[in-house]
Amino acid sequence: MQAFAELLDRLVLTPARNGKLRLIVDYFRATPDPDRGLALAAITGDLDIPSVKPAMLRALVMERMDAVLFAYSYDYVGDLAETVSLVWPASEEAAEANSIRLSEAVAQLRSAGRADGPAVLVRLLDRMTISERFATIKLVTGGLRIGVSARLAKQALADFGGVDVTEIEELWHGLKPPYRELFGWLTGKTGKPKLLAAAPFRPVMLSNPVQDGDLEKIDPADYAAEWKWDGIRVQAVAEKGVRRLYSRTGDDISGAFPDLVEAMAFEAALDGELLVGHPPEHTGTFSDLQQRLNRKTVPTKLVGQYPVFVRCYDILREGKEDTRALPFMERRKRLEALVATLDPSRFDLSPIVPFDGWATLDALRHAPPHPVIEGVMLKRLDSAYVPGRPKGPWFKWKRDPHVVDAVLMYAQRGHGKRSSFYSDFTFGVWSGPEDAPVLVPVGKAYFGFTDEELRLLDKYVRDNTVERFGPVRSVRAESKHGLVLEIAFEGLARSKRHRSGVAMRFPRISRLRWDKPANEADRIETLQAMLD
């Protein structure tokens, strides 16, 4: 348990992806089964453990200390799990000398019934160090919140075993904690686990962006074009009565989309884009779709308000036949035939876009017929469906991003390599009356600039600081004095959380406009006009 607790302590403060991967891989190396598998399940959210309500936790700690002292403590720390882990009266030395294993702690928590649950938890907390208590409380109150996605955990497994992450993704849904067969395979002790689960995820084929010179090397006649829809890539799999909807990284998201799963009346695995709306007439925006994302379950009202459908791209399996090795055009024919039999309000086809040369396609890409299109896809007619991002068979050619000129308002110190730089920038646009405009923040960006530009930005921030709040500096930003940043972004959504009422997707700093006076930066009305 100590090793797991230390891992969580480190992960929560380690900003860099590679740093996190290193920590997890080292943990897998140093930790025996079944502990490492249970830790993995805890990270990916697959650890089944009876939950404890915060109120219960508070009651337990109140039995052990003065309410006033607890109130001072909680008020200072601000996090219940952390406060309880620190104030819990127990000997640190005794806990270190008599360390408990993660698997032992999990087994005890699982065996507890409703009545003796609190008593079991108390006995565990009494035996633990502060870090272990924190980890345990996070486990039982649900949600580690350590900034590690299931995808990153799978990448760590792949690094640990020296295999491709798509192999892990493919196996994942047939495996259960503590993943002994998986670790056995990754450590070379046993063979690769068999893919036993019904309706498994199949690793997704991805495309490369079109770069300078790419198109000159290929013949338009060898490629089909499709619109690139701005939803989320999904895989809908129905086999032997099991229906699952997967994200592009293999997370099972069926629970949030019962309306779609109900319509999956086929024996096949389909690749497509999840969108909101009533096809073919109406396709909703990405912000509409966001109403349905990142939920475990979905309220009925939302299902009615934002119905989802899949705009199909490809077919990976039909009946018992794996179709991935077939050429794209052959798969396309089968896909067309299959989609024709499905509920048209839930499944439709991503149309093939006819074009006679790159110039035509370029024009189409810049002026797509629908706002939910973010560019075009190019797929070689003879391409097989292969996992990963092979160079050549598939390309994405996105329309140019939106740009806006904004004024730098706040800067925050970065992490790791950038800890001595002000590298996270909050910017705003003008609002209010023309003769007395005020800046309203519209977004935050921390990349898009070169290292040299970062040095200049950092210097500007230090030389123009108005106020400091911990790691954040407020920068001089007035109509006659301020730094204009050209911000590129992919889309704009209405937002209730932001004072400006808009939220940018994927904002980055595309240019530093040293030349442009601050009062010539854009106004909020420009952004509002881009909505919908």
Binding site: E6, R10, V12, L13, T14, P15, G19, R22, L23, D26, M65, D66, V68, L69, F70, Y72, S73, Y76, V77, G78, D79, E82, T83, L86, V87, E92, I130, R413, G414, H415, G416, K417, S419, S420, F421, G470, P471
Partner: protein, 335 residues
Amino acid sequence: MQPHELLLPRPEGLYCPPGDFFIDPVRPVERALITHGHSDHARSGHRHVLATRQTLDIMALRYGGDFAGSTQAAALGETVSLNGVSVGFHPAGHVLGSAQIAVENEGLRIVASGDYKRAADPTCAPFEVVPCDVFITEATFALPVFRHPDATREIATLLKSVEQFPERAHLVGAYALGKAERVIRLLRDAGYERPIFIHGALTKLCEYYQEQGFDLGPLEPATVEGRGGAFAGEIVVGPPSAFADRWARRFADPVACFASGWMRIRQRARQRGVELPLVISDHADWDELTATIRETGAGEIWVTHGREEALVRWCELAGIVGRPLHLVGYEDEGD
């Protein structure tokens, strides 16, 4: 004699009317008794200063040799008489030279702890319990959430990270007086023999510690010359303020570490951009504070320098008279 007739807070600092001296005054006074060398306790400009030899040395290093009109070294354990008031210096375990000051008159003894800790520290003499009627305690970490781990474990965490991330430099933020030397000595005790790179602000004090017989091993300046600006795999120690500064840019993809009792709270670490918090403190944690109060046998506790309210509450529950001692001008340094 009532306790407040022997010692009472004044704007300049804690004052003893019968002895006519101040303890750790924040403004220049005629006669000052200084508990230790941190700048919020030890200021320059007093006419007479009485402190331990090491505290006087440290003040001279920081302020120059003429920091006071005259100085007198107090030996630990001995008492001196000031206008009939007996004054004794006793080790406080806080930093090198730190002392508690026991003030006694007409059978009443008050001990001003200055800052103190009870945990083992290879770079200073351990705290000594001085029985007294009134104990004036610091309260920097006076909340039940502050429970400092064994410092050797924190050092082990640092060394493990150095091993895990050999391509990165580990920058350890540690205050110049006491913390930095303790961290370096603890690294040596853990078997770390490589040169440790230090910021210029640490040089004088590290040299002083070495002269005083604390072996800190090979120390090198953390300058870029001849090292290609990398410092990958090395440990660099410097004042915490330097790490947010341009100075830190010379290091390869640094791991920001900070040795402080505040690092116990995750949010404090996160706010400062610390990647590897090291909970190493020069101050007593909650358990040490409450145990010390009991051990002194004092019937009355004056609480100062931090979170008075929680410790006063604890005294109330323990049936001991506790009250906050309001001193002005005292701010955190050293943690």
